[in-house]
Every structure is written in structure tokens, then in C-alpha cells.
Amino acid sequence: MRNVRLWLILGLAGVCGFTSTVPAQSVSPRNLSGVWIGKRDGKQVVDEKFRPAMTPWSQAKFDAAVPTLGPRVIAGKENDPILRCNPDGIPKLLGVPQPFEIIQIPDRIIMFFEHNRHWRTIWTDGRKLPDDPDPSWMGYSIGRWEGNTLVVDSIGFNDIPWLNFYGDPHSDAMHLTERYRRVDAKTLEIAVTINDPKAYTKPWVNEPKQYNLEPKWEIGEHYCVIDEENAYADAVRLPAGQTQQK
């Protein structure tokens, strides 16, 4: 009977998503390699709950955005740049419901995202951020270890992708900081801070988002193909929202 109770408690804890602080197996906390996917806990990587006041510049961009999630949706009129096959950038890619793979080699860390087959490099060879990088979708990233936390600093973004699915913008002046910490053998945590004085009056500090390790998964092929996007829009997305389009 005691064993039954124990298993019941452990089972309930598992169902409720409680995580153990004891690693399930020996793994270096500085080894982030593997296929990871965000936990189904509703937690956002870039959470509007913590959003600082916007500048007039970002308020105008925010007002013009019709997102695919949240209270500002107008079905059939969404204008997330991804719907035109624009790449999602960082940090939005950390919040998509698809896995990414981290591969560590001595001088860099590479992240492969299943979503639209994007990838990025995080340089860990001690180099500094460039003075004046060309604006890009993924930005330019360097990483360093603080204890067992990988701190990634990135600049050099363009201002086209949104920060999340809710239409929150960022500018080309964004300095992004990501903090990666392996909580245990099966769990990764990423905390994102956005420092973008052109868009927000204070740094946007988010709580950590957790990711599960999926050792048996392979990163699949998922490209954004405009013909497929249009076929899907004609068959599903636009008819589903057609009354709102009138």
C-alpha cells in the first residue's frame, strides 16, 4: 500500500509538471547539445506581462500589427511577417511550438530550428561583438559561460520580425541577452532580456522558459514555401476568417 501511494504521488507530480532538481543521469551542465522543445505550460519566452512602456516608434508599429494570437487577432487579416515567408528571428524562434537542436563544437554553438530550417551561430571563442554589423534576421551572437549558465549577447538585428506571436516589435538597435541553463539531464531553461531603447523605455526582462530534451527526435524538414502558404491560405486560413474580412 505504501508503494502504491508513493507511485501515486510520483505520478501526480509528473502530471503536474513538477521537475526534480536531481539530474536523472550524469550530464555536464555545460553540455547543451540535443533536440529540445518548449514545455506545454503556456509560458511565453517573451511575455507581454513583463513588457515595459513602449516608445512612440514601437507603439505605432504595435498598433499596425494584426497578430495571430491574443486579443488583437482579426481572423483573416493577420499580418505577421512570417505569413509572407519572412524569416522569424531571435527570440521569436525560441517560442515556436517546434523543436530545435543545439550542437556544440569547440569555438561555437550552432542552433538548428525545425521551424523553417533556420539556424544561427553563437561564437564562444572569446571574440567581441562587432562594432557595426549589418542588420540581419538572426543577429550576431557571442556566448560566454558564467558558472554553468551560457550567457549569449546578440546585436545586429533588422527590425522586421516580431518578438513574439502577439505583434510586439523590436528595432535594429536591439541588444538581446539569452541565459541558457541546463536544469537537469532532461530540462533546459532559457531566460531572455531585451534591451532596445528605441522601442522600450526600460529593459524587457522575462522569466525563464523551460524546454524538454527529446533524445529520439530528428529535426524534420520545414521550409516556408510561398506556394504552400498561399494554397493553405486559400483552402483554410482565409475562409476560416472570411466574415471578419468583410
Binding site: 505550460d41 514555401v225 486560413r237 475562409p239 476568417g241
Partner: protein, 126 residues
């Protein structure tokens, strides 16, 4: 405690399922109106950005309606055992899901029941 646990689990599932369709806005669907249709498959679109099923179903008057029903993307469905052969032309299945608020014959898949009784519930794994 059990109630709080269940509320947490259900809330998390709803939030995450919304995110699973966030590429195209699941808010277009009436989540308070679950419908069940006896479907005859006309085409199975195993494609990005989202898999969708084209099928015929009879309305209450016996007329044939042409429906489309969307799910998540092939990459995530394949991790749950789906393949491009899961559905074929002429298959008779039961489709359960949520219709578009617009009234169009478009729906969001919650559960698929194959002719042999096997149930397929697309969800991201935890």
C-alpha cells in the same frame, strides 16, 4: 489539490494548443462548439505550414458538404506516428473538431477516429 492540478493541466493544454496553431490564428475557430462529422476523405494535404484534410460529409438534410480541416505541421505529426499515408482518398473516418466562426466549412482538428476505431489526437508531446 487534484482540482487545481486538473485546472492547471487543462489551462496549459489550451494555451499551448493555441500556440501550436499560432502561425495562422486558431482564434478563427469556435472552441466552445465541438462538432463530429462522418467524413469521406477526398484529399489529404501532407504539407507545410499545416496539414489539412479535405472531405465530404452529409448535412442534416442529407446534402453533401465539402469541408477542409486543419491540423499541425507534418514535422510534429510525424513525431506522433502520422505519415502521409495515414489518410487516403475514400477513407471513411470520424472527424471531431471546432468549426470556423465565419460559418465556412472549415474546421480545426481535435480528434480523428479511423474506420478500425483507432483514435489519433494531434498534440505536441510533453
Amino acid at each position: 489539490m487534484r482540482l487545481r492540478c486538473m485546472i492547471f493541466a487543462v489551462t496549459a493544454a489550451i494555451l499551448f494548443d493555441a500556440a501550436a496553431f499560432s502561425h495562422h490564428g486558431a482564434s478563427a475557430y469556435d472552441r466552445n462548439n465541438r462538432i463530429t462529422l462522418k467524413a469521406s476523405i477526398t484529399e489529404f494535404k501532407w504539407t507545410n505550414p499545416h496539414v489539412y484534410i479535405l472531405f465530404d460529409a452529409l448535412d442534416q438534410k442529407g446534402n453533401t458538404d465539402h469541408w477542409s480541416c486543419e491540423s499541425i505541421n507534418p514535422g510534429m505529426l510525424s513525431k506522433q506516428g502520422w505519415t502521409r499515408h495515414t489518410l487516403n482518398y475514400g477513407d471513411k473516418v470520424t472527424i471531431i473538431g471546432f468549426p470556423a466562426k465565419s460559418g465556412s466549412k472549415v474546421m480545426l482538428l481535435e480528434k480523428l477516429i479511423l474506420a478500425d476505431g483507432k483514435e489519433l489526437v494531434p498534440a505536441l508531446l510533453d
